[in-house]
Each structure stands twice: as structure tokens, then as C-alpha cells.
Symmetry: C2
Subunit: 445 residues, 2 copies
């Protein structure tokens, strides 16, 4: 197994071992400090300075720890983590604007981000020396709030907005054809302060403090190069991305993502999620094996919904609330039969029900991988909670997949009476990194 | 063991058992549906309709489940849950204004809230019939998004603001003497939209979706009687309230709450946290064994902090960053000795360090029980994260405890350079409820 020099550094030296801290001079990870990675420790992978990293980089999640909160997800591979990784429960998403005019600074930041992201996904501090290793007269290279916490299945996923390719950084020739901001959809009520961005970071973890720590430390590294445009905290996943997970519920109380494309569906992933080499000829070839991320902040008018009959609620979704079965059928995972009739002879699933309009059968076979989160952002000043769904989807071609789906929904989805799209952005997420590669070189070539 | 008629109701009947759902006509809890409460089930407590409730109401947490996420906390007792309960990791806090002018409606809502809160803390739906039991032509009495989730150590804590006693509801005579909004403090930058409120609900849980569900369902029950004034989601506890918990870190990366009053300190609790009978004579006697809650939304300028030397950071707090030991001393839990000198002969802990100013020794013995949460609320529109500490403290007398402490801090705490108080509220939290009692009768007598 190879070892990165950066990763082989001890996470921090011991300037003043004053308490029950780790052994001076040894390799110290957040996990080892806590003793939470018992499985890995027993396997001896923490014996050497870089051993823990090298030994746990291949599988996903790579450390079958007793507590799933402790596990690590592999940073490197064909695809980025955080797309088909079984959806963690918490998310911090941030969109950034590049504020430097110097492409070299941007490239250097992406290289620095790569190192920090790999370290943090392994449960380490953002940089060797981290919280206190730089000594009293230096600014700590890790902000410290996740110091005692395990890796928590952290994934860090990066994406680039269409605006990054506008010519400021010599990246015009790298822009994938047709990669543009979304068109306006009927009923959009977008807040410009929640739209767009040059770069996105999606951090998902089983502990929100770990996700927030990751985003914050990347922002810190990027100070002077990028600044925060908008950010969103999500507290409950709304889609499963693996058959190993139960289907979660959205804030309308319905199971969401039953028919999602899942990690196990490798053929569907190639067809609908991963960008294929032929999709991105020429300068855009860097996006091959990547995926496009669509983010939509969907405010849900939950107080209105909460005063609505069960019948209306089920009519809107086209599924029964308790089990998630298609109306007129049995069982959550039963393939939806839109020809099923109700007792009165009409269609069991309304012609404008959400499940009908969003179904591949009615969209020429279009599918996407959904990976959204519920959110609650305080109140709206009018006596209501500002809550909803931060919709995230990954797809191979936004124009052929998300756009027609959203057009169909925007035109007549019954759900529109209860929701409002308030934010929107798209990002091109490059493929995963092979050993020795970094995001700077990957984008700038 | 007694059984409440309301609690003995099955959580929902089975209108159309279409899938792998629970047995028709049996008693169904969220937990049983999932099979997550294996320990309780093995003990036979789920055999009867009300058995699960009755059997698990006495200890705290009452169900020693294998997974701590599953556990239940007792709703009834001498004190409200959510004060000395070992601090859960997530919180949803909401402040409400009463919009009705009819005291009877307010009282009826408080009575309805009691039933719903008790059910939800036990892992049940907000009302018998819950998600679908009312049938297609009724509005569901539970919003459903926590239907598949275990109790998750949910606690629901209620409090009343000074404004509730202004005469609108005949409660003037019940107002505890001296219970008023906080005075202005030096440096306050309060947003009126984040201050005050007639009633507060603090919901804490190990799963944020469970906490949000609880708050939302109480709001739904209160529709027409109360409306949301402000709300706050907290994602990581910043204080331990039990010696069984490690000390967590705030977003400045420092351990917080090392010297907190904890659940095990029963004498200190009586002295500093629980309102004693002699404190609340006459009409205010309902507050005996209650506690006063102080909420302060403290914005942290984390980007500035993140560019600050370690030495300055440690100077500000007066503790070392890694272990949390008082400067010049060893070990997190070593009692702070403010006479300790540094190498240059000056005080090891700066005269304006946070730990010095906030210490009982320098406040005439004043202590409080802190129970705050880290938050991240998107960005501030200026390229920064809107993040910080939602400070919550419980004390016996706000005027004698929190006010002098905050005056001392506001006057000269070095931390003030990096923080800003943006929200403020105080609430009188009544004592816990005995069997058969409810919040409406408790307040209105």
C-alpha cells in the first residue's frame, strides 16, 4: 500500500503533554485519541505513522467499526464519495464564489483542499499540526471542534458551477457542452441569495458537527480565494441511496425515494448518473465518470399541509402515507401500475399525482439519483417554520434528465400547492481521484 | 402501575393493512413497528395496549436499550425533563406568541400539549389515531415524519415568558416576583425577531428529525392559539449535564462546560438551579421546583477567530485548547487556581479571560446549569457562515445569577471581540408533572 507523505505525518506533535493525551511523538488520529476505533486498532493498522490511513483506504465504508458513526468512507476511487455512498443522516452544503482573479491561487487552493479533505474523511485534522501543533504563535490549521469526534462516515464532494467557466480562470475550453444554469420553471420563487455559486462543497456525515467542521476548514483554507455565497444545513436524509437503508420520510410525512437509483444498480448508474466518456469530448474530458449535481431548496408550507385531509395528502403523492405503497396496490416496493383503477373506475393514481409525473415511465425513461435532506431554518417572520426539503440529485445530463422532469412537475404536480422552490444551483462534480492526484491538477490539467 | 386512558389507546388502528405493517387492532408504537426496542419487547412490556407506556415511565432514561438512540426519558417527575437529562446531541427550540385572547383556549392547548408531549417522548404519535387512524376524510393528528423513528431520548421542556403574565390571560398574580426580560448588556446587538416570546418549547433528542417532529406537532395542535415567533435548530450540544458525558467543544474548538453544574450534583442543583418553595410565595407557588431558562443566541465570528494565533485563543478562554486544562495547570478537571503565575511572573490566566470572569469564585459563588447548542444558520450575505452558540442556561434566580455573570462578561470578557449576542429570551419553566396532572391545570390552577 502506498503512503502519502502528507498523510504519513503525525496529525499533531505533543508540545506540552499535560493530561491524559496521546503518546508524545506517535501518530495520533482523532479516533485513536478517543479509542473509538477498536476494530481498526485491533487489526494493528494504527501501529505506524501512516498505517491507519494506508490500511483503510480501499473499501467503502472501509472500517467495519462496531458503531456505524465511527466508520470511514474511502476518499479515492473511480467516483467521488458522497454520491452513491449510503446517504448519511446529516449534511452541510456550501456554495462559494471565487474572489481571486489569479488561476494559480485557485488551483493551489484546490490542491490544498484535496489534502485536507482526505485527512478529514479519515478522521484526522485538516492539516498535520492541526489544532495546536503549529505552536502558540501560529494560527491553528484545524479549528478543533471535531477533535474528539470519530470520522462519522464523513464524505466531502466537490462540484463546479457554470460561472467558474466564464473565462476568469482560463477554463472556458473545459466547460462541458450544455452545462448551464437551469432555465426558469413555472412557479419558481427563487431568492438570488440562495442560487448559483462557482464551487460547491457537499459534506455529509452521521454527526453534523463533523460535516460543519469539514466545510468550515475548507473555507478557512480558501480564505482570500473563495467566499461563502450561501450554505444549507440538512438534518435528515430524505432518500436512500442503497438497498441496505430503509426509506426515510420527508417533512410531509411520506416515504421519499422508494424508486431511487441505488448504489447496487450499477447499470442504472452508468445509464443515468455517471458521465460517460462520449458525453464529454475534448476539453471537457475531465468530467468523464463525474456527475452533475442539481440543488433545489424547496420550502414546504407545512402548516398548510398539516391542516389537510389524509385523502388529499395521499392523492397528491399517489402513495399511501403509512406504507408508501402505490395507491390501489400493496407494498412499498411494488412497481407502480398507473393503469390501476380505483373503486369509482377512475385511475387509482391521480393524473397529476407526484409519483406519476416523476416516474420514468412518464418521462421517457428518465431517472436520477436523489440525495436530499430535510431542513428547518428558523421561522419566516409570519408565524411559520421555514422548513422543507433541500433537494439534491445527481445525473448524467441535466438538460435531458432533470430539466424535463422538473418541467413536468412544475406544469401540473399537485404538490405545487404546498411547496415553493426558493433556491437553485447546478454543479459539475468531477470523477474521483486516483492515488497521487488532486482537484487542482484534475481541473486545470 | 396506573394507565392513562389516552395512553392506553392503540396508537393507530389499521384501516387497510396493505404491507408488512403491524398486526391489526393491536397496540402499535413507532418503536414496535420497527422492532428497535428489542430489550423492552423481551421484557414483555409491549404485550398490552398501554403496557409499554406504564412500564417505562419511572427511570431516566427508562429503557436501557442497546442503542442509546432508542432510549426513552421519563416525562413525569419532580422536575421537567430536558434540564438535568444528559444533554442530547440535537435541539429544536421554538418561541411562540399566544394569539388567542381567550384564556380557556390557552389552558385547553396546554392540556392537549401535555398528552401529546408525553406520547411523543415515549416514541408514540402525537395523538391516538396519529398518522392515518382518523381515516381519509380527517386531518392526520400526527404529521408522520418520525413514524419510523425510535424515541431517541426526546425531551420536551416548556417555559413561559414574562409577557404571558401581562394581564391578557388573568395570570398577573401568578408572575414570580422579579421575573422580567433581561436588562440591556454592553455590546448587545439584539434582533427583535429573535427575542422574547410568550411560551417556549425546548425539544432535545439524539435525532433532529424527532426533535423537529415534536415541536411541529405541538405547533399544529396550537394552531389558532399560538404562532411561531422564532425558532432555532442546534446541532451539537456544548455542555455536559452529567458526569457520564465527555466535555464537548464549541465552534471555537474549545471544550465548554467543564465546570458545569451536573445532574449528579444534587446539592448544587437545589442551590443554583431548582426554584425553592420560599423563592415563590403566594400566586407564584406553581414555580416551586421549576427553573428559569435563559436563552441567548450568540453569533461567533468564526472566520476572524480562525485567523487568530493559538496563544491569543488560549489567552481569551484561559484554558489550553487541546485538553481544556486551566492555563498553567494540568488536566481538564483540575480546579482552576487563579493565583497561578506564568513564566513572566504575571497571572497564568489573564485578568479578562473568559474562565476567570465566568467562574463562581469571581461572582460571589454564582453558578448556573448550561445546556447550549452549536448552530449554523446558513450565511450572512457577507461571505461568512452565520454560526455560533445558542446559549441555554437554567438557574434559580435570573437576577441574582445570570444577570451579574453576564454583566461581568459584557464589561470585559476578551471573548467579546469574537462574539455578538443577537437574540435573548427568558422563560419560567414550571416543575415536572405528577401523574394525572397537566400543564394547563398547573398554570391556571
Amino acid at each position: 500500500m502506498t503512503q502519502h507523505p502528507d498523510l504519513a505525518d503525525p496529525l499533531r506533535p505533543q508540545p506540552d503533554p499535560g493530561g491524559a493525551g496521546p503518546v508524545a511523538g506517535g501518530a495520533v488520529t482523532r479516533r485513536r485519541l478517543l479509542g473509538v476505533s477498536a476494530g481498526a486498532a485491533a487489526a494493528g493498522v494504527l501501529a505506524g505513522a501512516g498505517g491507519a490511513y494506508a490500511a483503510t483506504r480501499d473499501s467503502q465504508p472501509s472500517s467495519p467499526a462496531a458503531d456505524p458513526l465511527d466508520a470511514e468512507v474511502a476518499f479515492r476511487g473511480e467516483h467521488q464519495p458522497g454520491i452513491t455512498t449510503p446517504a448519511q443522516d446529516r449534511m452541510h452544503f456550501v456554495a462559494l464564489d471565487v474572489v481571486t482573479k489569479n488561476p494559480d491561487e485557485l488551483k493551489a487552493m484546490l490542491t490544498a483542499w484535496t489534502k485536507a479533505a482526505e485527512r478529514m474523511m479519515l478522521g484526522g485534522e485538516a492539516a498535520p499540526g492541526g489544532v495546536v501543533g503549529g505552536g502558540p504563535y501560529n494560527v491553528p490549521e484545524d479549528t478543533g471542534e471535531a477533535y474528539d469526534l470519530p470520522p462519522s462516515n464523513l464524505t466531502i464532494t466537490i462540484g463546479y458551477g457554470p460561472s467558474l467557466f466564464d473565462g476568469r480562470f482560463g477554463l472556458k475550453g473545459k466547460k462541458p457542452q450544455g452545462f448551464e444554469d437551469l432555465p426558469a420553471f413555472k412557479g419558481d420563487d427563487l431568492d438570488p441569495a440562495r442560487c448559483g455559486g462557482d464551487i460547491a462543497i457537499q459534506a455529509c456525515a452521521n454527526d453534523p458537527q463533523v460535516a460543519v467542521h469539514a466545510v468550515r476548514n475548507l473555507i478557512r483554507i480558501g480564505f482570500g480565494t473563495v467566499s461563502v455565497r450561501w450554505s444549507q444545513l440538512g438534518f435528515g436524509r430524505t432518500s436512500s441511496t442503497s438497498r441496505s437503508q430503509p426509506t426515510p420520510r420527508n417533512l410531509f410525512g411520506f416515504k421519499d425515494g422508494t424508486a431511487n437509483v441505488k448504489a447496487e444498480d450499477t447499470e442504472r448508474l452508468d445509464q443515468h448518473v455517471w458521465v460517460q466518456p462520449g458525453d464529454v469530448p475534448g476539453g471537457a474530458a475531465w468530467m468523464s465518470s463525474g456527475s452533475y449535481l442539481v440543488a433545489r431548496r424547496i420550502r414546504m408550507h407545512i402548516e398548510v399541509w398539516d391542516r389537510t385531509h389524509l385523502q388529499e395528502q395521499e392523492l397528491v403523492f399517489g402513495r399511501d402515507k403509512l406504507e408508501g405503497a402505490p395507491l390501489g396496490q400493496k407494498g412499498e416496493f411494488t412497481p407502480v401500475d398507473f393503469a390501476t383503477k380505483s373503486a369509482d373506475g377512475g385511475p387509482a393514481i391521480d393524473m397529476a399525482a407526484h409519483v406519476r409525473l416523476a416516474h420514468p415511465e412518464n418521462l421517457g425513461g428518465v431517472e436520477i439519483l436523489r440525495r436530499g435532506y430535510n431542513f428547518t431554518d428558523g421561522s419566516d417572520g409570519l408565524g411559520h417554520l421555514d422548513a422543507g426539503l433541500f433537494f439534491i440529485a445527481f445525473c448524467r445530463d441535466i438538460t435531458r434528465q432533470f430539466v424535463p422532469m422538473q418541467r413536468a412537475l412544475a406544469a401540473k404536480d399537485r404538490l405545487n400547492e404546498y411547496i415553493e422552490h426558493t433556491g437553485s444551483a447546478v454543479f459539475a462534480c468531477p470523477p474521483g481521484l486516483a492515488e497521487g492526484k488532486d482537484w487542482g491538477a484534475q481541473l486545470f490539467g
